[in-house]
Subunit: 225 residues, 2 copies
């Protein structure tokens, strides 16, 4: 039982929570550690409060503390699948994590992270995946490396996504919350489409909402034509 | 120009950021204050960094600080509209705020808060609305007070929402992230439906994702039948 906060393992965890390095990351809490185990991820280090370490000493990025912490090595998928999502400049880790969860629920392909996206293995992003990151590690790729039908989702541009005639594989492409996709990506995409919004509403949906609606719509079309 | 942190107005703002009272709330940042003005909300108090107050003294719930802070009096809508959302036990203020934004984009009715929901006027919820809360203040009501077709959205229950034959007014009802809707609500709802997810995916979508997909689907049906 670790009883000193100067213990080397605790120092490692505290440092990783501050700044990731060497491809390692920290998963906090029973649910995430269980999701890791269920998907065959071996922890490099696993500490349980009250068993391996004095409860008060277990480091956590959560105000409320946690009962178990695991350290794992990050994994990356390759782009692929009949349906996947490409993100460009999505800075918010909560949004990135939520999209990983939605893609796990609604797509066979991974979330592909382009330039300037949040670290999907940061504590906030991992929490937002609710464990889906262990089932579906994201991919990393530039837009130019994508294959299949790339659909640029842009507010008010192109036709409604529900009317887009495009067979698989489809990669749904979404940009930053305010600036959207870079002009070069919009130009190079196979198609441009939008999610219809009310004219008296806001300019846009949150990017995680837009990605999830688009994933849902592609599923619905596959089921109902 | 306020130059002392002991100024009474600054104290008021700091207190409200800690704990809301008297129906007042704080909106932080240019975008939110502009959205308030655009929707005709008069601030009880408005302080701009560098004009009204020394920049370093302006209170903020954000680590990065802010350049303008307004204090406003909360407003509540009445339930209504052809399409609205009822939430039961949605604790996370980010989710509540995001759903307010999505409903503004995709529905004519408000978000109706049932028991045990996060305060939509907390700083985190307001930020997630991106200003939509000023265009569409939420409503407060018990499930029993709702009129129209109440659709209980439950993972795996009933038929797919896209196949639900229900005319307006429709109230989409969603429960807490883990426990879902209370049994009494599920029993009393006009219909039960689900959003189809992959069998190899997670149990559920994030509640804000589910609400937004459901709002999208009802819009799509109204457009395409």
């Amino acid at each position: 039982m670790i009883t000193s906060k100067d213990n080397q393992q605790l120092k490692t965890i505290r440092k990783l929570l501050q700044k990731r390095r060497d491809g390692l990351f920290v998963a906090e809490g029973e649910d995430l550690v269980e999701a890791a185990a269920a998907n065959g991820w071996e922890p490099q280090l696993l500490l349980r409060a009250g068993e391996d370490v004095e409860p008060d000493l277990l480091p956590s990025s959560l105000g409320s503390g946690t009962r178990v912490v695991g350290v794992y090595r990050e994994r990356w998928s390759e782009p692929g699948g009949d349906l996947s999502v490409y993100l460009h400049g999505v800075h918010d880790p909560g949004n990135v994590g939520t999209i990983v969860r939605s893609a796990h629920a609604l797509a066979d392909g991974p979330v592909i992270l382009g330039p300037d996206c949040a670290d999907p293995y940061s504590p906030k992003a991992i929490r937002a995946t609710m464990g889906s990151i262990f089932a579906r590690p994201p991919a990393q790729a530039a837009f130019e490396e994508l294959s299949g039908t790339t659909v640029a989702l842009e507010r008010g541009a192109g036709g409604p996504l529900a009317e887009l005639d495009a067979g698989p594989p489809v990669v749904l492409c979404l940009g930053a919350e305010r600036s959207g996709l870079p002009e070069a990506v919009r130009q190079a995409a196979s198609a441009v489409a939008h999610i219809p919004l009310r004219p008296d509403g806001p300019d846009s949906l949150n990017v995680a909402m837009a990605a999830t609606v688009a994933l849902y719509e592609r599923n619905r079309m596959a089921r109902h034509g």
